[in-house]
Symmetry: C2
Subunit: 217 residues, 2 copies
DNA sequence: GTCAAGCTTTTTGTATACAATAATATATGT
DNA sequence: ACATATATTATTGTATACAAAAAGCTTGAC
C-alpha cells in the first residue's frame, strides 16, 4: 500500500496544498489530477486517502475529497496541542536524556547562534528542527516521538514563517538555553514549562503575523 | 473515500485484530478477504489503508500488509503517551471547564460508584469512558480532544482488561475524585498530575496482568 | 420570470483485466 | 547431493470498464 507512486503523488499534493495551489474547500478532481500526473485514477485515490488520514483533506462520501486548510482557530488549537506534546517530550527527556545528547544540544545551539548572527533563517530553521527532534528522541518513548514528528510535519509551514519576525531568532535562542539548562538539571517541570512556552509562543507569533497581514493598512 | 463499505470492512478487520483472529506479523490476504466479504479487492485495499493509517498494520511495498500487534514495550510507550496527552487535557480543562461539566463529572462518578458496587465492569468501563471524554471536551481544544480520542480508541482493548484486577475499580474511583477536585479548584498542575498517574497506572496494571498470565505457574 | 420535474452529464465507488514484481518450484550443472 | 539458474506461480500495483449516485441542465407549467 506504500506503492511509492501514491506516496509521491501524496507528497506532491501536500506541497501544492501548503504552497496554496489549492485553497480551503477546493475539490480535488480525480480525473484532472490523473491526467496531470499521467496515471490512472487508482493511485490518485490512494494518495487522497493519505491526505485524508493526515488531516489535510476531508472526504464526503459520493461527493469527493476537499482540501481542509485549517482556519485561525484550528491553527491555534494545533499549536497548543503541539506545545503540550513537546512539553511532554521535554518532561520525559529531563529524566532520561543522555550526556552525549546534552552535548549535542549545546552544539546545535551553537549552530543556531551562528545562523542567527548570519541572519540565515533557513539554517536557523534547520538547526531548530534538529534541536526539537533530538528532544523527541530523548523522551525515550519512540511512540510519543513519532506522534511529535507527525504533528511537527503538519505544522512545518506555519512554524517557519514566524522566524521572519524581528528579534524572534534571538528570543528563540534564549528559550533553547533555558530548556537545555532544565534538561541538564533533570528538572522535569521546568523543562516542560519552558518547552511549552517556547512552542506556544510560536503559535502566538504566527497569529500576530497573520493578523498584521490580513489587517487593512 | 469514506465509502462506508471500506469503513465497515476496516472496522471488521480491526475487531478481528483486537480479538486475536490475526496474530502479529500475519499477512492480510487481499484475495481471501475479498472472497470472505464478497467484494472485489478494491474496497479491501481501501480498508487496509485505514488500518495502516491507524497503526494496526504495516505495509511493505510489493509484499503486502501485515498486522502489527504492539509488543510489551510499544504498549507501555503508548500508555505513557496516552497519560501525557490526557494530562494535557486535564491541565487545560482545569482552566476552562464549565460549571455544568463539573456537575456532569460528579454525576458520572456517582454512576461509576453504582457500577462498582454492582461489580458491573462493562458499565464501569462505559461510565469511565464518559468521564475521560468529558475532560477531553472540556480541554477547550477540539484538535487535542480528537487526538486523545484517537489514542483512546487504539488502546481501548487494553484499557478494559485491567478493570478485572481486584480493587482496581475502587482505586480508579478514588483517582477520579482527586481529578475532579483539582479541576474544580482550577489546579492545573494537580489535575495534570492526577490524570497522568491515573492513566499511567492503567498501563502498569495491564503490564502486571500480562506478565502474570505469561508467567509459568 | 420562477420553480419544479425529468433527463443528461459528470463523478464517485466497485469490479475486473492487465502488468510487473516477488516467491516458489524445477531443472541442470558441477 | 547441493547450489545456482531458470521457469512457473502467486500476489501486488495499475489501468480500465462498468454501475450507481449526485450535479447540472432542459423543458414545461404556473
Amino acid at each position: 500500500m506504500d506503492m511509492r507512486r501514491a506516496d509521491l503523488i501524496a507528497d506532491e499534493l501536500e506541497k501544492m496544498i501548503f504552497t496554496g495551489a489549492f485553497t480551503d474547500g477546493d475539490r480535488l478532481d480525480e480525473i484532472r489530477l490523473a491526467g496531470q500526473f499521467s496515471v490512472s485514477r487508482t493511485p490518485i485515490r490512494e494518495a487522497f486517502q493519505r491526505l485524508v488520514a493526515s488531516g489535510l483533506a476531508v472526504q464526503i462520501p459520493r461527493r469527493g475529497v476537499f482540501v481542509a486548510q485549517p482556519g485561525p482557530v484550528e491553527l491555534m488549537e494545533m499549536f497548543e496541542t503541539m506545545a503540550e506534546i513537546e512539553a511532554a517530550c521535554a518532561r520525559l527527556a529531563a529524566m532520561r536524556i543522555s550526556d552525549t545528547a546534552l552535548v549535542e544540544l549545546d552544539e546545535i545551539n551553537q549552530e543556531c547562534l551562528q545562523a542567527m548572527k548570519a541572519k540565515d533563517i533557513d539554517r536557523y530553521y534547520q538547526e531548530n528542527e534538529r534541536f526539537h527532534q533530538t528532544i523527541y528522541q530523548q523522551s525515550g518513548n519512540s511512540f510519543l516521538a513519532k506522534e511529535a514528528r507527525r504533528l511537527q510535519h503538519r505544522l512545518k509551514p506555519y512554524r517557519r514563517i514566524q522566524l521572519h519576525l524581528r528579534g524572534r531568532m534571538a528570543q528563540s535562542m534564549a528559550e533553547h538555553e533555558t530548556i537545555v539548562t532544565a534538561l541538564r538539571d533533570g528538572d522535569s517541570l521546568g523543562a516542560a514549562d519552558a518547552m511549552r512556552g517556547h512552542v506556544a509562543v510560536q503559535g502566538e507569533k504566527f497569529h500576530h503575523l497573520m493578523s498584521s497581514i490580513t489587517k487593512t493598512p
